[in-house]
Symmetry: C2
Subunit: 416 residues, 2 copies
């Protein structure tokens, strides 16, 4: 029998206890021996808690118990979680976590600490909730050089964008609805500003390229600026607007970004709706593979945590962590040097003048015409592939022009 | 350094040698040491072969070489492959294979032999080509009880169905096109009659339920009977026709079948087109997760083989095979006892009489009307959920009736 302790009895932590109880038999078969939750550490009081006999507020009860070999950290954040994880690893206990912030911030140090102490630090649940993605990248696709990743990594924003499009709610209403349904937090900024997706693509990139990609260096935009009008244009182009995290390897260099993009309906990612997540991985042997499922939620996420625990139990003698090298930060390509096609919506004072101006600045563009009232004073178009730097210059000139009232929005196209 | 040998220098075998050469550096990093192909066994002569110096026709050169610890079996079939695999496992060499027929036929014996000899028998590439599915089921979803699986597991038939629908080719033309493009073999029966998909769902079911599911006991239909007319009806119902392998756990019992089904366009599987495969796994904690990618092809399949090799190298001390129990065959539910909704197309002599007859036999049905010439003498409808046994009785009575010329086709609906 293997004893584990769960640190933090929130949604995921209590889910871990539940999954281990619920599937005790099959988990035992898979792991080769029984897995038992011996302690749950949380400073809060829980009344009527089904796991009352396991609860403790005293961290020493966990750390000083030599019969506990694996800790599940579902505290979140980088304060207590960081201290506890370091203490556990350095004292020879393996740690499993769903804490993306901690992995994205201190991953290289914690992975190295795990390796030095011959224990494991695993974090399947930190990306994609229940979707298996970390282990497939580490193991199943190990024979590939990973060339790129593209994913819908945040269920909250995907839910909001889906309900805007399907139900005609504007961003504010859709956010409120998501909060009422428990899909968005009271302070939703980490989700809607793309921070959560940014941490996740940082983790996936670090695994894929075996080199730490710092979340702070990833260009990130959220979905606050996306309007129903933008969605009408996307529909006209047989497309949808999605918040996508992408990452690419260019030789020695890496690029990653999180932005709303226009995805053609023929692509797999366009059909990923609501709270679902999906990740497309491109390898130099396998081509494209996609992993799809619930990106959050108590039991899906808990099942990913428990899968890591089972893995440690099965491979107790062979710690399989890779360590992420920290490379020169010049390896991270600046967004200004990358290229995209852009969708541009202008509110114009003078249609003919706007068309002429755009043509004089960047040549021919593909016009998108919408037969709707709001679009009457708009000139909307798709650019050719252009560098971000040139595009910024172009927008600056548009803003200075007399024939244009304002640039209503600009959105990148997703190029598969 | 770990030495391996490749048995069979066909598409997959030569792909394995290529992938190991191509990604030598990253494979070495992932595995922790270099992996080298020391011998390739094949009885054929290869002129101008880039791997000429590795080739041998003498199996003893492989088996008697103690420096070779892992064999890659890509021979196919159950004759030489079976003998070689047994010999390897019993002499302490691990075996990695893409041979679904062998795994589906002798899986329980070979897995037990591997465990008894403390080596591994891995077969990620036997299902879904390059798509990671075997390892995710065994490891990533290990915390779940798997309730069901549904998948497009055969790229040839999916290519044929896709080109019938998109290009209006009939079955024969689409098959010929697939053969010319190398997606179908000269003798295509194993693919188009569902045998290949049947073996694959047998393997996935055995892994999921940890109990051998015999391919011979799986009800299997192919796609020879699917016509362009059927596809028109499916389109009218906002759906597509796909060859789906499904498997469900009901308490102690298991059911599996391979049949063409009508899949609604809102479902993820409807958007899996051409040679792509996809597998939806339903677990009691994760809900639905989908795995999507190229289900065949030289490098994708080879990359799955090499991932297994890497896994063995990393975990050399802890063989992680599960053994499949062979249960009472009464555990396999007979198709007669299962339920579906059915689409039925009748060629009728008398519309009114046909409608009345159907209503008298099974009550109200949902009529599907097509405004096309061929449909003028047809009465097409969707039944409620009905057992297969009752449905067979119903069809028998229709065939005996005077008002009906013939039953043109019947196709099950896929219920997600």
């Amino acid at each position: 029998m293997v004893n584990i302790a769960v640190l933090g009895y929130g949604v995921v932590g209590s889910g871990v206890v539940e999954v281990i109880k619920k599937n005790r038999h099959s988990i035992g078969t898979r792991a080769g021996e029984e897995i038992k939750v011996k302690k749950v550490l949380d400073i809060r009081d829980f009344t009527d808690c089904p796991d009352a006999e396991l609860m403790t507020k005293d961290a020493e009860e966990v750390f000083k118990d030599d019969s506990i070999s694996i800790l599940v950290e579902t505290i979140g954040g980088t304060k207590f979680a960081y201290d506890f994880t370091r203490r556990a690893l350095s004292s020879g206990k393996s740690v499993v976590t769903s804490n993306k912030e901690l992995v994205a911030t201190h991953g290289p140090e914690l992975l190295k600490m795990a390796r030095d102490n011959n224990v494991s630090y695993l974090f399947e649940a930190s990306v994609g909730g229940g979707i298996p993605i970390v282990r497939p990248l580490n193991q199943c696709l190990a024979a590939n050089e990973i060339i790129g990743i593209a994913g819908i990594l945040n269920g909250t924003t995907n839910y909001i964008l889906t309900s805007m499009r399907k139900e005609g709610k504007d961003f504010g209403e859709a956010l409120k609805d998501a909060q009422e349904k428990g899909y968005a937090e009271a302070d939703p900024s980490s989700d809607i500003d793309g921070v959560d997706a940014c941490r996740k693509i940082a983790i996936l990139s670090s695994i894929s390229y075996n080199e730490f990609v710092d979340a702070n260096r990833i260009y990130t935009e959220g979905i606050r600026e996306i309007t129903l009008e933008d969605m009408q244009y996307a529909k006209e182009m047989d497309s949808k607007i999605k918040l996508l995290a992408i990452s690419r390897r260019y030789g020695e260099n890496i690029f990653a970004r999180v932005t709303p993009v226009i995805v053609n309906n023929s692509g797999q990612l366009a059909n990923v709706e609501g709270v679902f997540n999906a990740i497309i991985v491109r390898g130099n042997a396998i081509g494209d593979a996609m992993f799809y499922g619930r990106g959050a939620g108590k039991l899906p996420t808990a099942s990913a945590v428990v899968a890591d625990v089972i893995d440690i139990v099965k491979h107790v003698e062979s710690n399989s962590n890779n360590v992420w090298k920290i490379m020169n930060e010049n390896n991270i390509v600046n967004i200004d040097e990358t290229e995209s096609e852009f969708f541009v919506r202008l509110k114009v004072k003078n249609h003919e003048g706007a068309e002429k101006l755009v043509k004089s600045l960047i040549g021919d563009v593909e016009k998108v015409v919408l037969q709707m009232d709001f679009a009457k004073d708009e000139y909307a178009f798709k650019t050719d592939v252009i560098t971000e730097k040139s595009f910024k210059g172009f927008i600056k000139k548009l803003n200075q022009s007399d024939v244009i009232e304002k640039v209503a929005n600009t959105i990148r196209f997703f190029e598969e």
